[in-house]
């Protein structure tokens, strides 16, 4: 992947499509932090693709000048993975919401993660279905009243951080939309990381989530301890499970290096003697009776 040839500022990465998010939506903070991270890293718009699913948060790619794909609900990761496998030279960043990623898309996560697919996945977690106007999401608390849970949500929430750690993600972090500087750093780290990098960003939805608000998060946010060892999976899992205590840890939880999917596929091609100019007659001739 190349870098931008001319220095670009965050605003230079903005496309001409104006964001359609509500005023006060947490996703603005994410957008700004990501664009700053792009500028910091002099990311080239020509060899970067932002891939998303469906949801408020999944509108992200339209607002950025890079290449992009706005796919189907829940399918952001396998689309992004296919692109990366076919084009390892391209930087692929996946975006989406909590429902997109961990409800309908939840079946793809373990596989994309365990393969250590070379992607950055930025999830804007608002614990609600924004685009469809306020239904319970997989990260909604038990008892939360939403349009489809008028008597309170019956289900324990998923824990995206703990799930990704268990699946074997090699970079796991959580940020908070308003802590722009930290989000920017975490995203930068994720983009630089070789392998699957997951950044869960708490991004409140003031329009439909009246329970988890900018105010309520003030009470629950806690920085990952400064002395946390990011190579210690158990310690990372413990931090992830702070959610059970009603806490919202932010910072980098885990980082590890191991062979990525692209590495492994490269090995296979080498083993097979991969050659773009391979003579197909050699294959055909093995079918002579």
């Amino acid at each position: 992947m190349t870098t931008a040839t001319e220095p670009m500022k965050a605003k230079d990465y903005k496309s001409t499509v104006p964001p359609t998010w509500c005023m006060g939506c947490g996703d603005y903070g994410v957008l700004n932090a990501v664009l700053k991270s792009f500028a910091d890293n002099s990311i080239s718009i020509d060899d970067t693709v932002l891939v998303s699913g469906i949801g408020c948060s999944s509108r992200f790619p339209y607002f950025v000048k890079t290449y992009g794909m706005h796919t189907a609900h829940g399918r952001v990761l396998p689309v992004a993975a296919g692109l990366k496998m076919a084009r390892p030279d391209i930087r692929v960043i996946a975006f989406g919401g909590d429902g997109d990623g961990f409800s309908i898309g939840g079946g793809h996560v373990p596989h994309v993660v365990r393969k250590n697919t070379d992607l950055t996945y930025i999830l804007m977690d608002n614990s609600i279905y924004g685009l469809t106007k306020g239904q319970v999401s997989p990260t909604s608390e038990v008892g939360m009243v939403t349009t489809t849970t008028p008597y309170g949500a019956p289900d324990n929430p998923v824990n995206p951080l703990a799930y990704c750690l268990t699946y074997g993600a090699t970079y796991v972090a959580q940020g908070y939309s308003s802590k722009s500087k930290q989000v920017q750093e975490l995203v930068t780290g994720a983009i630089e990381h070789k392998g699957f990098a997951f950044v869960n960003i708490i991004s409140p939805c003031p329009t439909f989530n009246k329970l988890n608000t900018f105010d309520s998060y003030k009470e629950t946010l806690e920085e990952v301890p400064a002395d946390h060892d990011t190579s210690d999976l158990n310690a990372a899992l413990k931090i992830a499970l702070r959610a059970k205590e009603g806490k919202t840890p932010i910072g980098l939880l885990y980082k590890e290096n191991r062979p990525t999917l692209v590495d492994r596929l490269t090995d296979i091609r080498k083993k097979a003697g991969g050659d773009e100019n391979y003579d197909l007659n050699k294959i055909i001739n093995t079918y002579i009776p």
């Binding site: 020509d46 706005h70 189907a72 076919a86 084009r87 097979a272 003579d279 079918y287």
Partner: protein, 578 residues
């Protein structure tokens, strides 16, 4: 070789008894000696037990179908005998495991040449291994019908060599014991013989599923993702071996949705990409098929059909996914469906599928089926240097002057250039949402209508690009047969047989089945007022689509018992409706 240069041997027994491997060897040996070969297999949905069948048809001439019935039947057990008994014709041969095997009684069928061979007994008592039963049978068969024993020995060596000398030896012994038994105990009363052919250099023997994989390689596939499913898995197996050789990547995805998602991502990246599945997988892919249509991303999907609905008859034959392929996905999604008639077609129509996908930026499905997928056939080797390969029209940076690049530009042909990531100035968002030419969301009625018209209009003249429709005219005929997919071969043979009996009948074989080649079909219907459509499904799916799109009132001949038509069945029907 007797009987008009055409011999059919059928072997039946329980799944797992080595029927497939002995059948394969006989087919290989015949092909090696220069004969045309076409095989047909059925097996149970269970991993063990149940009736399995392998049939080999040899000829000096091109073989069009599995044929009607068999000349030689070899039964490994009672079930095989029961399943086939009613089909044993006068003058044919029955070889069966007796005495000492599963078949309790000696068989004496009038007019049938019955040869008992104690396969199980010889295997167990003389060779001490029950598993060599199939080799004993093969020995007897080769002796009876003069199948080149030399070839068989070579094939055994090739197949078992890796497992060590002993394994090879046991198999040789079993083969010899079978031959010896036949030589010493059987008196040949039938007329069948397998002649040697003229060994040909440019022939390969390959299955329909492998042929799809080979077609993909010839077309330049670089990415393949699929999820295993009977009867399509062999496409993935073939490519998993060979695709990395040409520096392509193959992955087994977590499900069919992920497979197609992978393929769409890869194709957006500018790489020719494909997946293969069967009915249940095609059902799961519906949402993303519509998405690729909307995004105008080229993708190729091979659907090797099986008996539906649901899990249905997973190892049986049916052509019943046409409705889903052509009319599926919510909303009005434009797409293309091709259907190959035979193994060779599997190669060339897969190339065609890539060419159409690339040229029209549209999802293209290749509807094969279980019989065809498992069928092996001796065919002419393709010449890679002679394959016509079409690539998508790429965006050329700089050519749009001051204007920003428009991914979904409204052009006369309906086809817009497609940029790929990495190209300067080609940035856009590929999207399933309705969009403006720039790719930004736009919902105005005017834009909507022009985008719908673009996505459909670009396929208006597809018929002229593909030329995958074959017409077999017949002066004076009133009746025209329209067949699709692997029923084409059977129909060809039926038409030939009927004409040989003096029946006047024409035929048309569309391999582009959606959108239909209307010019060719309407011209055909003008000439032949009566139309017969034999197909293997309950609803008469092609006939329905013909009614939908033309003024034909076809006579449907639908079967759906899990087996292909025989040429005879179609001949009878032709005579009935003629």
């Amino acid at each position: 070789m007797s009987k008009a240069n055409d011999l059919i041997i059928r072997i039946g027994g329980e799944g797992g008894e080595g029927i497939i491997s002995s059948g394969d060897m006989i087919a290989q040996a015949a092909a090696r000696s220069g004969l045309e070969v076409l095989t047909f297999k059925t097996f149970p949905a269970e991993i063990r037990g149940g009736y399995a069948m392998y049939q080999i048809r040899f000829s000096h001439e091109v073989i069009l179908s599995e044929g009607s019935g068999f000349d030689v039947l070899c039964c490994f057990n009672q079930e095989a005998l029961n399943n086939n008994k009613s089909q044993i014709a006068k003058g044919s041969v029955l070889i069966y495991d007796f005495p000492g095997g599963d078949i309790a009684e000696e068989q004496n069928i009038e007019g049938v040449h019955c040869y008992p061979v104690p396969m199980s007994k010889i295997a167990k008592e003389e060779l001490n291994t029950y598993r060599s039963k199939n080799m004993v049978a093969m020995g007897a068969i080769s002796e009876l019908f003069s199948i080149a024993t030399k070839s068989l020995r070579e094939l055994i060596q090739d197949k078992f060599g890796k497992k060590g000398k002993e394994v090879v030896e046991v198999n040789f012994k079993a083969l010899d014991a079978g031959s010896k038994y036949a030589r010493e105990h059987l008196k040949k009363t039938d007329p069948f013989q397998m002649d040697e052919g003229k060994p040909q250099k440019d022939v390969m023997i390959i299955s329909g599923n492998e042929a799809i994989g080979l077609g993909a390689l010839l077309a330049g596939v670089q990415y393949f993702s699929a999820y295993p499913i009977t009867p399509a898995t062999e496409v993935a197996i073939f490519l998993s071996k060979h695709l990395p050789k040409v520096n392509g990547n193959l992955v087994q995805a977590e499900d069919e949705i992920a497979s197609l998602a992978n393929v769409i991502g890869a194709s957006y990246g500018g790489v020719k990409s494909m997946t293969a599945t069967s009915g249940p997988g095609l059902s799961l892919m519906q949402e993303l098929i519509g998405m690729s249509s909307m995004m105008e991303v080229p993708v190729v999907i091979a659907d090797v059909q099986r008996g539906g609905p649901s899990t249905g008859l997973p190892t049986k034959h049916e052509q019943s996914d046409l409705f889903l392929a052509a009319l599926g996905s919510h909303g009005d999604a434009s797409k293309v469906v091709l259907s190959p008639e035979g193994v060779e077609d599997c190669i060339y129509l897969t190339v065609e599928a890539f060419n159409i996908a690339e040229k029209y930026q549209v999802p293209v499905m290749v509807l094969s089926d279980g019989s065809l997928g498992f069928r092996t056939n001796s065919i002419k080797k393709p010449d890679p240097s002679k394959i016509k390969v079409v690539n998508r029209e790429k965006y050329e940076p700089g050519t749009n002057g001051d204007k920003p690049y428009e991914r979904y530009e409204l052009t006369e042909s309906g086809i817009s250039t497609m940029s790929v990531p990495g190209q300067k100035g080609g940035n856009y968002i590929s999207t399933g949402l309705e969009h403006a030419p720039s790719s930004a969301p736009r919902y105005s009625p005017e834009n909507r209508v022009s985008m719908m018209d673009k996505r459909w209009g670009k396929l208006d003249n597809l018929e002229d690009f593909v030329q995958a429709t074959e017409v077999d005219d017949m002066e004076g005929a009133q009746l025209g047969v329209i067949a699709w997919g692997s029923t084409i071969g059977t129909a060809r043979e039926a038409v030939k047989l009927a004409r040989a009996e003096g029946v006047k009948v024409a035929a048309i074989y569309p391999k582009l089945v959606w959108p239909l080649p209307l010019k060719a079909l309407n011209a055909f219907a003008k000439k032949y007022p009566k139309i017969l459509v034999p197909e293997i499904n309950k609803q008469g799916q092609l006939a329905s689509i013909l009614r939908m799109k033309t003024d034909m009132k076809p006579i449907s001949y639908n079967i759906y018992g899990g087996l292909p038509f025989t040429p005879k069945m179609i001949v009878e029907k032709i005579k009935e409706v003629c």
